[in-house]
Structures are given as C-alpha cells and as structure tokens.
C-alpha cells in the first residue's frame, strides 16, 4: 500500500548513528541475501526485472534489463565486477549520502545480492572522497561483514566467493559517469568510454561489469525478500518502489523523504518541505538535481516518476529538487550551475569543453551587467549543440537542461540583465 512502508530508510536513526551488523540483522537484515544465494542467478535478475526497478542515479534505465546483458553461465568470462556508484556529485543531490551514513549494511547486502545475480567475483564501492563519514561507516560495516563470513571466501557458506572493496575517488564529477568511473578505478583519467560496447560485456579491465547507483541497489534486498508485486505496490505509478525525494533551496524544511514513487512535486514541496520560507514566492524547481530542466508553477501536480516528468519536458533524474525562489536571480543560479559543469568537463569532446566554457563566460558576463544581446542567441545555440548524441557523454546534455529551460521560462529576467546592464537582484 503506497505511503506506509519505507524499506530504504526504515533503519535510519534520528540521532545520526548507524545500526551495526547485529542491529541490522535483528531488523531482518541479510535474510534477503541468504534467500538470494539459494536462487539461480538468472532468477534473481528476473525478479528485479519484474519489479520495474529503474536506476536512481539519473538515467532511469530498467535495472533488471541492465543486469540481463551480463553474460552468465559456464562460458562467461571471469572475473566479473559489480561497482556501486557512490560518487554522488550531482549538485543538489544528497540521497545516497543518507543511505550510506545511515544504514551501510543495506548497501552491502544489496551488493551481495546483485553480485550473485551477475556472478561477479569482485565488487567495489566507488565512493566520493568528500563523504568521509560514509567512508568510515562503510569501512566499519565491511569489516563486520568479512568477520561474519558474509564476504570473502565461501560467503554465507554458499560455496561462492565475493571480495568487496571500498575505493575513495580522488575527485571529478566525471567519476560518477559509469564509464568514467571504470577508467578511474583502473587508474586512468576519468574520461568516459564510447558505448557500445557496454560495460556489461566489456567493462572494468575489459570484463563484464555492472555499475549501479547506491539508491537503486538498496531497493534490491526488499525486492528479494518481499517479491516483485510488493515492490510495485509501493508506488503510485508504473515505476515500482519508493523513492528518496529531496528538496534544497529556500524552503522551510530542506531534507530527504522516502515516499511512494510518483508522489507529486507539490506534495514534496508543500507538505514535506513545508513550502517556501515566509516572504518568498516559488518560481521554479529543478526536479532531479542540476542537470534537469526547470519545472514551474503549472507543473507542480506532475507525479515525480521517470515517465511523467519526461512528459512535462524535464527528467526526474535523482529526484532531489533544487527550488528557486523569487528573491534569487535565475541567471545567477544558472551561471553557478554552468560554471560547475564547465569546470567538470573532462576535456574530451569538443561541444562540451569548448561550449561550456563559452556559455559560462557569457552567463558570468550577463550577471556582471556586461552581457551583449546576441549572447541569448549564442546560449540557445549552444544548448542545442550539446544535445544527446552530439556529445560523447551526458554531462553537456545535462548542462543544457537548466540553461535551456531558464531561457524558456525566465527569458524576461535574462533580457533585463542586458537592458539594465546589471543584475536586477544585486
């Protein structure tokens, strides 16, 4: 029944401590892992497929289908790898942090199940280096899991082996891109790789690999324990499960809430985040972190799932919304985001490394009151230039989204910067 069960956050404590292995197990933890290990790997994948679990890292790709592309069986190449993408660097996104700090064993259990499904021999948690508390907690939890015989040789006495390592990233947003992550793990520059071939067939060290977002993985134990239908029943819409929704910006209660998938933007904003702070009016929000298009007042009743948000002209992305109020300059906001994207460009493909730099400089000039009228045409041109397929990876297309939607919904504000030769909010 949507609204009541909170499988992702049920163990998370208000005092900020995390359950250790004993506490985690008392609450039912690692039962799903034991259950999964008794199933044939393809059966686990099937289960996840049926549940309609979709990736919560931003792309929304059906998870079960992704796993099914990994070759399994006696002719499959080895070693195979699972990598948890814990490099949460999307501006405005902090949901994976909550899960790793608050319930590290949930991630580990989910990775044990996922590794079993794809017959992985080695698993990595690729963690953003700045998440020091997560690192501490995960290290501690890993040590406990190894001591308990849940990792290493003959895990859970199943006859199977699984090594799991925590890897701290040395920085760069691109490490959160699936293939950039693989290059970084291999000790190379975090440039992306062309697909095809996909990591499922040629990934880490050229071997079959699944890279999966932390939140996505954390849904898996529940699915194994309770079944695909249960998972679907948690949601308001066709995309299964619950979602960690977040809100940041000048709302009364910025934070994270586990809610049924398909909760409306309005409910998140007004009920859970408490609406705008006193004296401030809502102007728009980026529904899933920096690389999503603005939604405005007319969209607030959109159900926040992968399909519905897309119909409204945006993407749910990570589901952590950044809210813009009327006392903040939209141009300044987009300038800030574009500066981030420009700085994080890896320098590989032309539209991104050349275009983002140019756009960032134009936006800074606009903010400083030095913008030229033609900049708006150039910016619009650049956002088309960075369309998906034109670039090598999704960074620049993501950067296009807040900029192109700001130009659409807040064009008058851009024009005022030019005509008034200053930022009207300064």
């Amino acid at each position: 029944m949507p609204g009541q069960e909170k499988p992702l956050t049920k163990n998370i404590r208000p005092d900020g401590t995390a359950p250790d292995l004993k506490a985690y197990e008392r609450a039912g933890g690692y039962d799903a892992a034991r259950k999964a290990l008794k199933l044939d790997p393809p059966k686990v994948t099937d289960l996840v497929k049926q549940s309609n679990l979709r990736g919560r890292g931003g792309a929304g790709f059906p998870t079960g289908m992704k796993w099914s592309f990994v070759p399994v069986g006696k002719d499959a190449p080895h070693p195979k790898y699972l990598a948890a993408n814990a490099d949460e660097m999307e501006p405005g996104t902090f949901k994976d942090r909550l899960l790793m700090e608050g319930d590290p064993h949930l991630l580990i259990e989910s990775m044990i199940i996922a590794s079993h499904a794809i017959e992985a021999d080695v698993a990595y948690i690729f963690l953003r280096g700045e998440y020091t508390l997560s690192a501490e907690r995960l290290e501690s939890a890993l040590a406990e899991a190894y001591r308990a015989g849940y990792l290493g040789q003959n895990i859970f006495k199943s006859g199977k082996n699984l090594e799991m390592y925590l890897h701290l990233s040395a920085g760069r947003y691109m490490c959160g891109e699936e293939t950039g992550l693989l290059n970084a793990l291999e000790g190379k520059r975090a440039n992306p790789r062309a697909k095809p071939p996909f990591p499922q067939t040629s990934g880490l060290w050229g071997k079959p690999t699944i890279v999966q977002n932390v939140e996505t993985l954390c849904n898996v134990p529940g699915i194994v324990a309770n079944g695909a239908d249960w998972f679907k029943s948690l949601s308001y819409t066709a995309d299964g499960g619950t979602k960690l929704y977040g809100a940041s910006g000048k709302v009364k209660r910025p934070g994270l809430w586990e809610l049924p998938m398909g909760t409306t933007a309005r409910e998140i904003l007004e009920e859970h985040a408490g609406g705008m702070r006193d004296g401030l009016k809502f102007r728009g929000l980026l529904p899933g972190g920096a690389s999503t298009d603005f939604l405005v007042e007319e969209h607030l009743d959109v159900r926040m799932d992968f399909t519905e948000v897309q119909k409204a002209g945006s993407r749910m992305g990570t589901g952590t919304m950044i809210v813009l109020d009327d006392q903040n300059c939209p141009v300044g906001m987009v300038a800030n985001l574009t500066h981030f994207f420009a700085q994080e460009s890896c320098g590989w493909c032309t539209p991104c490394w050349s275009g983002l730099s140019w756009a960032s400089q134009m936006l800074d000039a606009l903010e400083a009151g030095k913008g030229k009228p033609e900049f708006l045409d150039y910016l619009a041109h650049e956002t088309k230039f960075w369309s998906p397929g034109n670039t090598f990876c999704a960074l620049a297309p993501g950067a296009a989204e807040p900029l192109q939607s700001a130009l659409k919904y807040f064009r008058a504000d851009f024009e005022r910067h030019i005509t008034e030769k200053r930022c009207p909010w300064s």
Binding site: R172, A194, S202, G206, T350, P351, W353, S354, S387, F392
Partner: protein
C-alpha cells in the same frame, strides 16, 4: 573483405562491410572532415567533427546525427553528408575548436599544410562569435627535434594516442581538464621515444612541429620535393625530402603501405641535416706534394682518367650506402675480381650469409607491414629499436594481434574501434620473445626475454627449431631452463597464424643467423607459413651484397702484397670499417687513392683525388632494403655547385676520359639500370622499381614543385634577371618545376613526390591516393621484391649449435652496441642527432662491475685488438656476464672490429 551497398546522400555505393562510415566515405574520395580519427590510430569519437546524418529508411526525413568514425557499415544504411543540420553541426565544431585558437597562421609553421585550416575551410565556418579571452599555456622544451606551441591545441588527443598507445612512449601525457588540457611531459626535457618526430605529422595543427625545419623555415608550397628513400638504415622507408635555395629543409613521411606506412623514426626524419653540414665536399680536390687544393671538374676528370688508364692495377671499394648504380659502375670499371665491399669483415660475412639464407630458407622475407601483422615473434640477437627502428614500431603493433583475435574479436569489436579495443585488450600482449645480450627498449612489450652471449642465443634458437621439428639438430648440454624456454617459444610459434623470426648482423654471429633460418625451416616443415627478417645495417647493404662485392679484408691483403696502383673508394670512410692500423697500412701501400663522397672524412684526407658525390637528395639511384625490396630514390634538387654529381656519373665520366668505350652507353640512369639487368639476372627486376625517364603522364612530366611554388624568377635575379630554363632531368620523368601533370591527377606511386590534392594541403591528402584507407597506394606500393621464398626441398637444416659460451675470468668478449643516434655515419652530422649521441663508454654487467670494483662512470682501462682505451663504465642492466659493449661507430671507437676478445681493468 566483403562489399555491401550503402546510400550516401541517396546515391548507392559499394563499400567494405567491415569498416566504419568515415573510412568508407574517405575511401570513396568524399570530403568528410575529421580530427581525432587517424588511419593508423583508429576511431575514438572525441572531436565530433565527422558528424553525418543517419536515416532509418527512405521515409525517415528527420534522421539523427551520428559520428561517422564510430558508425559501423551496415547493409543498405543511409547517411547524408550534405544534410543541412549535419553541415551546421560540423561548422559549430570548428567554431568550438577555434575558441582559443590563436589564428596565427601567418607566423605558424603549419600554415599551408595545416589540417585545421583545411577542415575549417571545408566546413565553411568563418566568423568568430566568441568574444572572451583565449586560454594560453607555457611551452616546454622537448628536445632538438620537436617544437611545442600549446596555444594552438584543439584537444584532438592524436599526439598522446600516438605517443603512448601506438609507440608505447612513457614520458608524454595529457594533463588538465576542460578546455585547459595540456599535452606534453611532466617536466621539460628531451622526448625519449624514438618516434616522437611523428608528432609533427600526427598533430593536425601547429602545436608540434619539426624543430629542425624551424631553423631554416620554408612554406610547404615553396619546397621542391622528390620521391626518395631514407638513407639511414636498411629498412628503406619512403620519404619526401623538401628543398629550397639549394638547401634541404626537412623530411616528411611518404606513405608506402608495405613498408613504413604513416610513420618514420627520428633518425630518418631528422638525420638529413648532414647534407647541409660544414663537412660537405662541394668541389673536387687534388692533393699533390703535401698540399690540397680545389680543382675544376675538367681537371679532376683528367687526373682520374690518368689514374685508371688501361694497364693500371685498380681496386674499387664499394659502399653499403651508395646506390646500386654507383656500385655497379665501379664494379664495371675495376672488374668483379677487384670489387670489394666497404663493410667490416664480420658484418659482411654475416650479411651475405643472411641473404643466402633468405634465398634458400623457404620462408619469405617479411615486409614491415607483415611484421606488424605477425602474431608470434622471436627476435634473436637484434636490438631493432637501434638498428632497424621503424621495425621496432611495427613489432609494438604485432604484439596486439593475438590479444585482438582472442579477446576483441570474440566481443565482435572491429579493429578500427580503437577506443573499445584498447579497453577490451587492456595490457594483454601476444607472444614476443627477445633474446639479446643486453636489455632492449622492446623488452617492455616482450612476453619473455633471454639475456645471453651470442653463442647461447644461437643455442636457444637451434633448440627452438628442434622443439618444432625433431629432425632439426638437437642442442647438447642445454640447461633445463633454456630447454623449457625453447619449448615455450616453439609452442607459441607453432600455435600462431603468422609466426615470424627476426635476426640480423648485430650480434656478430653466424650461428645466430643460422639458428633463425633453422626455425623458419622447421615451421615450414610443420606446415606453417612462417616469415623471416634479417636486419642489415645500411640502406644498400643488400644491394652491394647482390653485386657480389668481395670482403674488405681481401682488399687490404691484396694491397698489402703490393702492385695495386689506384684504389677507388666509393662513398665510404674506411676508418669506420677496420682497425686504424690496418687502414693506415692500406693507404700507405697504395700510391693513389680516389675518394668519392658527400662528406669529408679521414679517407678523403688520405686521397689524392676527392670528388664531390651528390647525396641521396642530389642524385638518383636504387637501394635494396633488408626485405630485398629494390626502391628508386630521385633527385630532389640540382645543387648550386655544378661539380657535385651522382657518383655513378663521376665513374662514367672518368671511364670516358680513360677511353672505356662501354661507358658511352650510360647517358642516363635508365642506361645503367638496363646494363645492370643484363649482367645481373637476379637484379633485373630493379628496372621496374619506377617508370623510366621517358614515361609521361598524359604527355606531361611530373612536377617536383607544388603548383603554388613561388619566386622561381626572383630567386636568381641577383645573378641574372633573365629567367633560366629549369634544369633538364635525363634520369626521371620528374621536372624541376611546378609545371606538368598536377593534382588532382595522381602520378604512379614511385613517381609521386608529395601527397597533395585540392582542399587537402596536409599529409592527410594521402587518403585520396589509396583505394582503401590504410591499404596500398592506388597503383601499388613502390618497390619490387627481389627475393622470395625458395621451395622447401631446396633448403636444409644448417650446421649444428655452437658450444655454450663460457665467460673467462679477466677476459671479455666485446660486442658493438648500436645507437639510433650516433652509430650511423651520415645522420650523426645532423646537430640534433649529434646532441643525442652517446660519448664512448664501456658497457658491462652489474656483476662484472662488482667484480672489477667499479661503479657507473668510473674510468676503466680497456684493451682489445691491440688498442688501449680509457673509457667510463656504463653498467648495463641484464647484460650477460663476460660480454662487454662498445658504442658502435662512435668517435674514436668507430673502426673497432668485432667480435673481439680483450681485457678490462680499473683505470688509474
């Protein structure tokens, strides 16, 4: 290579089904822009310049932009180059690249052969909208050969992909982020990789350029070219030298799909400056009564004619770096019995043995392309990086063959998808085994290495042959380690599709060469098509051997016996070929010496008559490479000094002066070639290495100069305002002008002086001269092979293995260590090469250094061949104990004879 139909802008074309859309369109001769793709480096999809529209079917009018370099060919696929959106996108990519580009074309070395210029014009982008500051960099010092100007960089990544991925260089990388990516070294310093010079051609802008050209810069369109062959080793890479105002300015690669492909080594690219050095002989010299003075051509010929008058007892010493024609003319003058090789005796014996074995070994000699495609290789005794450098680059590609078949092909990854293939292959390498006395740079891609004295290397080789075919002689008293290694090598060679054995003359050992041939035979007996490659040392060692030149030692003996009036020494310094005391004795015993050469050296000092020979750029001729490939090189320019001419012409003129009637027949190069083919049936094919002088393309000569060549009338106006007639060229169908059969028409490959076609001013123009990208030139790759595999029955197993090497206490075997920079006679006169050449040293193993209680740099007293030297110690990693190395051809060590036994002691 199957063909399928695809549609480009609604027109059907038949293309190679296994390639990608970019290569298919380029192979069809279409103009599609690109940057990061390179025919030898494959596709990575970084620059986005090659975008085209792809349509699902005829009804799809919207289509989708795709990168043609990463789009595999599919039957009936529909793409559009002309689509408006695709064109606009490609122009936007140029706009992006131009953001920080300095627009310094007028002062940039690349201007006029700049791929960025060409692609900019092709896309039509011509208006700057970016109005902010450009990002800039501090440039690095990278050594004497490559100049860096980072502000021009468009971040195409070709340089780092070539340097690291293709050439396995370690000291060059990309640093930085976003639009501030830096390509260079971690710190200023000389680039360590021997192929760094290729960066000048690989870089599509003026970031990396030829630093030697910069010192005497000329625009490409103002250079005069000719199809030429590198004179600095035995591989015969094809080059396009460029000249202006009587001075050689630079060398660029000339594509030959079977030989050098797209790349040259740095010795070949930068060694040309010897031709401009102060050591050049530019006028005849006559030395009489202790004084040496300049003479006119007439005086010189008169003197020469007297010396070779009928009845004179003559000997001629031929040259491994002079043309076949020059050597042959000398042989005709002195007679075959009196024609000797100007090569160290040991090396000569080995070179002849190698050629003999090639003729009888049942394994054909491998071309460089075939080396690259071998999937299991054994190297016996040869340090290719220093003796046949371009071959080392080919081996670095060969080690990827087996992993490609075993890994990438299984994942259905096409080879052109370089990005994906490298991820899949990671560090996997195929079987390359290297057995040499000391470490070699190729060790870093070898599966296994074996460090031993030459006799032990030979024993390993014979053991491999025996392990492949039990009928090959067994090697007695072989250690179990070596026996096991031999079995591993044998298994790898037997399992391969294209096994290859490489050896050469460097180890100074006949047994090593015979062992290599035995392995090739054993593989053939086992039903494998094996190939073999013997690295010789100089550009025409093989040709000189095919002319039957006798060993130098015989000449020294003959002269010592007395009775020889005149020695004619062709393009050679004998002091590099034998011990100084033997050469001194030679010169003391022969009353008259005639030396023909381009550089003045100690042999010229001893000669009464010195004649200025044209360099490879000032004459025409034929060289035969290690592969047995005869290739023609053509004169690039006529030197200002009239007296300089091709050696064969000097000999011909002298013969005429002495009334040898047969010389009358030799008016042009073709005449000499004709005579050679009559007298030497084994060499008759050299006539077809290039078209004869009478050849015309649509009735026209082929111009050496680009059609925009400027200043022809102005450059001599200070001498005379009357426009001189361009010199005639009786030896080739090429003209010393810009008039004639010009692009887009394409002359036959052996006659193509440079690659250019309208709109393609850079080296990328070579795409249009191939029918398949990266394949042979249209019309065939230049050169004719003179040796092919003999039938199996003709060959037999050779002598059995030598006994194991035993290091003797206080006595070492001295061997030469070859250095890419420094060991070769001509290139070491180029300033950059000289800078990188080693000074004399004595190389010993760490154990031997400890034995002698010496450390790196300490002075040692070295005695061999009755000479005593004081030399600094160089501890050589992995060198076999009991072996000592001296740098070959360097300074006062240049005449040392090998192998030699001698002593080493702590110096005082």
């Amino acid at each position: 290579m199957t063909g399928v139909t695809i549609y480009v802008d609604n027109r059907p074309y038949e293309v190679n089904a296994e390639t990608n859309a970019l290569e298919a369109c380029l192979s069809l001769g279409m103009d599609l822009p690109y940057f990061c793709w390179h025919p030898a480096l494959g596709s990575v999809g970084a620059c986005r310049q090659c975008a085209v529209k792809q349509f699902r079917d005829e009804k799809d009018t919207k289509g989708k932009l795709v990168m043609s370099c990463l789009t595999p060919i599919a039957k009936d696929m529909r793409i559009s180059i002309e689509d408006a959106e695709a064109r606009a996108f490609r122009a936007s990519v140029i706009e992006g690249l131009m953001e920080s580009h300095p627009h310094d074309c007028p002062v940039c070395d690349e201007g006029g052969e700049c791929h960025l210029q060409d692609m900019t014009v092709m896309t039509g982008h011509d208006y700057r909208r970016y109005s902010f500051l450009k990002r800039t960099f501090r440039n690095q010092y990278l050594g004497p050969f490559v100049n860096q100007e980072m502000n021009r960089c468009i971040q195409c990544y070709r340089c780092v992909r070539f340097y690291r991925d293709y050439a396995n260089g370690k000291d060059f990388d990309n640093f930085g982020i976003r639009n501030i990516v830096f390509f260079g070294r971690a710190k200023d310093g000389v680039l360590e990789n021997e192929f760094a010079g290729n960066l000048a051609e690989v870089c599509p802008t003026g970031v990396f350029t030829d630093k030697t050209l910069k010192r005497h810069y000329t625009r490409k369109w103002d250079l005069q070219f000719a199809p030429s062959i590198c004179a600095h080793c035995s591989l015969g890479c094809n080059t396009s030298p460029g000249e202006r105002y009587g001075k050689l300015r630079r060398i660029v690669n000339r594509y030959n799909g079977e030989v050098n492909g797209y790349f040259l080594c740095d010795r070949g690219r930068f060694g040309y400056e010897f031709a401009n050095s102060g050591e050049r002989v530019r006028a005849p010299q006559i030395a009489q009564n202790g004084t040496r003075g300049q003479a006119t051509k007439a005086q010189a010929l008169e003197a020469f004619g007297i010396l070779i008058a009928p009845g004179a007892s003559l000997i001629g010493i031929g040259s491994p770096r002079a043309s076949l024609e020059a050597n042959f003319a000398l042989r005709e003058l002195v007679g075959a019995e009196r024609f000797f090789a100007g090569v160290a005796d040991t090396e000569w014996k080995l070179a002849n043995r190698a050629l003999d074995l090639l003729r009888h070994s049942a394994a054909p000699p491998a071309s460089l392309r075939q080396i690259e495609h071998s999937d299991a290789v054994l190297v016996l005794g040869e340090d290719l990086t220093n003796t046949a450098p371009r071959g080392a680059l080919s081996l670095r590609q060969a080690v990827r063959r087996q992993p490609f078949e075993q890994i990438a092909a299984k994942l259905k990854l096409p080879e052109w998808n370089d990005h994906a293939v490298r991820v899949a292959l990671q560090d996997a390498k195929g079987p390359l085994f290297i057995a040499t006395p000391a470490t070699t740079k190729l060790d870093d891609v070898a599966a296994e290495t074996y460090r031993a004295a030459p006799d032990d290397i030979a024993r390993l080789g014979f053991a491999v042959a025996h392990a492949i075919d039990a009928r090959a002689p067994e090697v007695p008293r072989l250690s179990s380690d070596v026996a096991a290694l031999a079995r591993r090598i044998a298994a790898a060679l037997k399992d391969a599709h294209d096994p290859l054995v490489i050896s050469g003359v460097s180890a100074q050992s006949e047994a090593v060469i015979e062992a290599a041939a035995s392995i090739a035979r054993a593989l053939k007996v086992s039903g494998k098509t094996a190939k073999i490659f013997f690295a010789l040392h100089e550009c025409n060692t093989a040709g000189l051997a095919m002319l039957g030149a006798r060993p130098l030692g015989e000449a020294l003996d003959l002269v010592g016996q007395g009775g020889v009036n005149t020695a004619i020494i062709l393009e050679n310094d004998l002091y590099r070929r034998a011990l100084p005391r033997r050469v001194d004795a030679f010169f003391a015993a022969v009353p008259h010496v005639v030396a023909l050469d381009s550089l003045f050296h100690r042999t010229c000092e001893k000669a009464q008559l010195v004649l200025p020979a044209g360099t490879f750029a000032e004459s025409d001729g034929t060289y035969v490479s290690s592969e047995g490939r005869a290739q023609r090189f053509f004169q690039v320019f006529v030197p200002a000094e009239e007296e300089i001419q091709a050696s064969w012409r000097w000999i011909r003129d002298a013969m005429l002066a002495a009334d040898h009637q047969e010389a009358r027949a030799w008016q042009s190069l073709d005449d000499v070639l004709h005579t050679i083919s009559e007298y030497e049936p084994r060499l008759s094919a050299i006539v077809s290495a290039a078209q004869p002088a009478g050849f015309r393309d649509e009735g026209q000569l082929i111009p050496r100069e680009p059609h925009r060549y400027s200043g022809r009338t102005a450059m001599l106006a200070n001498i005379s305002v009357h426009e001189p007639k361009p010199p005639d060229d009786p030896d080739s169908p090429l003209s010393f002008s810009m008039e004639g059969y010009t692009a887009p028409a394409q002359p036959p490959p052996p006659l193509t002086p440079f690659f250019w076609t309208p709109g393609w001013n850079s080296y990328q123009a070579v795409n249009k001269f191939q029918s398949e990208i990266g394949g042979p030139l249209r019309g065939g790759d230049p050169g004719v092979r003179l040796i092919d595999a003999a039938p199996l029955e003709q060959s037999s197993y050779f002598a059995s293995a030598p006994p194991a090497f035993e290091a003797r206490s206080s006595e070492w075997i001295f061997l030469p260590a070859y250095h890419i920079f420094g060991s070769e006679e001509l290139s070491r006169h180029a300033p950059g090469v000289a800078e990188l050449s080693p000074k004399p040293y004595i190389g010993i193993s760490a154990d031997d250094a400890a034995l002698l209680r010496m450390t790196q740099g300490a002075q040692a007293e070295v005695k061999l061949n009755a000479s005593t030297y004081t030399l600094p110690v160089r501890v050589i990693d992995g060198l076999a104990n009991g072996i000592a190395l001296l740098p070959a051809g360097v300074d006062f060590l240049e005449g040392e004879e090998f192998p030699a036994r001698g002593t080493i002691r702590r110096g005082l």
